[in-house]
Amino acid sequence: MASVLLRLTHLLTPKTDIVIRIVKYVLYDILQNRMLLGYTLFLLAVSFGLFNLGGDSTKGLVGLLNIVLIVTPLVSIIFSTIHLYNSAEFIELLAAQPVRRSVILWSEFFGLATAMKLAVLVGIGIPVAIFSPDLTGLTLVLVAAGLSVAFVSIAMLASVLTRDKARGIGLALLLWFYFALLYDALVLFLMFAFADYPLEKAMLGVIALNPIDLSRVVVLLQMDISALMGYTGALFREFLGTGTGIVFACIILLAWIFIPVFFAVRFFGKKDL
């Protein structure tokens, strides 16, 4: 038994050790970046501004929700793409070492994810903790962190798929545009097209296919706006407002975090550097 454990740790230790060391390098590199500091300060300023403007903490939260749904994904995806292209040489250098490619990419992901999460937790988390320390506020902060990481993951896929930097950033922007704007327009179009059908349950699936929409609905349900939604609201509240619903939302968001990066790693493994 002891020997098995020893062999296991022997197997694990060098790898995790390497991951931690690379993550450290990546994090150190990112945290030195002025853009991240600027982003954090921007979030702080906007959050404090919104909370002080309305007087009412719910209004502040609603304003923040818009920032969380539009700005955080955008900054996350663009920052990550640029960072990945800028550290292409570092990645190539590491690839020349006896380190598995998947380890390199996962480390990049964890580094970026940690940095973006940190920015959101400081920039949004602190003001929310001061002005609106309740379940709604907590949901908003968690959703913001989750969304940031999901878009880091999408950025990984986008930048691994394209070799050219300009193209990669273009693709990242396009993806953001799709999730933040186009998707809702398509949903609206679908609703009009299939207005005669009972779409409530289908909508649940459609919403889950976009991390931004899912986050929006989860936070709105916390804000008790569901009462406006009549039957649909009741259905959604029943589903997303309860424990299983929260678990469901978390699983979907986790899927959005891990599936793109998983494919990125697979593709990166075969990619000709």
Binding site: L69, L181, D184, M191, A195, R216, L220, M229
Partner: protein, 411 residues
Amino acid sequence: MKFLITLLFALGAMDLAAASIHAGVGQATGSIREAINMAAAGDTIYIHEGYYQEGNLTIDKPLALIGLNYPVLDGNHQVEILTVTASDVVIFGLEIRNSGQLSTIDLAGIKVLSAQRVVIENCHLRDCNFGIYLSNTQDCRVASNNVQGILKEEQNCGNGIHLWKCERALIEGNYLTGHRDGIYFEFVTDSEIRYNHSEANMRYGLHFMFSHNDHYHHNRFVRNGAGVAVMYSRQVKMTENLFGFNWGSSAYGLLLKDISDSHIWKNRFEQNSAGVYLEGASRIIIEQNRFQENGWALRVQASCDANTIRQNDFVGNTFDVSTNGSLVLNTFDNNYWDRYEGYDLNRDGIGDVPFRPVSLYAVVVERMPFGLLLMRSFMVYLMDKVEKIVPSLTPEQLMDQQPFMKSLNHA
């Protein structure tokens, strides 16, 4: 002179006739029933503090029942406690508990049947099926009572104050909670409801059916299952009430259904799912009200016509106005809309460009309720902006030609 002396004697005799009887714990007459049987018309019965289980008591002659320090009359969930069948009865300061409940008869804490000028004042009613029930009465007054029910299923629960086929009733200063409807009016005319507080009832805080020429004012209706409903009535005045916190998928501040020639003035609608919901409403004037933080401030169905909505404040509502048709038969004038983005060049306090209170998104949601899933989406915001500039789906004629720049009715 002789006439005067006769008159004096007559008055003296009357005075003697109106005796006072003390009943209850520690008194010569121990039971209330005995006291009522003993009493002659016009007598006053003082019921002393204590706990009484005497089943149903019927008052069939003009008496005054006055409780001293709230004596408790308990029906043990078996019977109706007080039944009044005579006119000019006064009931004051009693605590009525636990009326029975039957599916065939509406048992109440205090029921008045076919009588005039009955006064029920300052009583406490606890866990009664119906609280105070007036049937076929004229000129009755129900004032300053505290009526608290225990919430059961809607079908097994009566109303706090229930009036059926009454005229000239006055309902004032009561507190009502935990019943099906706080106050229920059916075929009640020329009556007044004022200064009541109706809270957390299962269905409506106040419910009007087929009741004309009534006036209710200075009431508070909060946190009721579905708000207040006024149906199939005409000439109802609703002034200076608060409709608040009626929040739920089918809750309204005020539900108007098939009602005409009424006046809604200086009320406050705060944090309701729908502030006012109008269906089949005609010739109603809604003026100088404040709509604040409702889901919908006004939902006007296409079946409404000739209504006037003027000088109201619309502040912080998710949707200001929503409608399900494109035909516009109602007028909106001189309201204050917090969403208004126009200008006032000549500084006369009236905006120079009209305001369209129905947003595109409100139209979408009216057609497809699940469209609400897109609420606060950036896309929806863009759509609304475009629609404001070039109206296509929203009813083009529905607009406030002269919106006020500043709020008129401060809370």
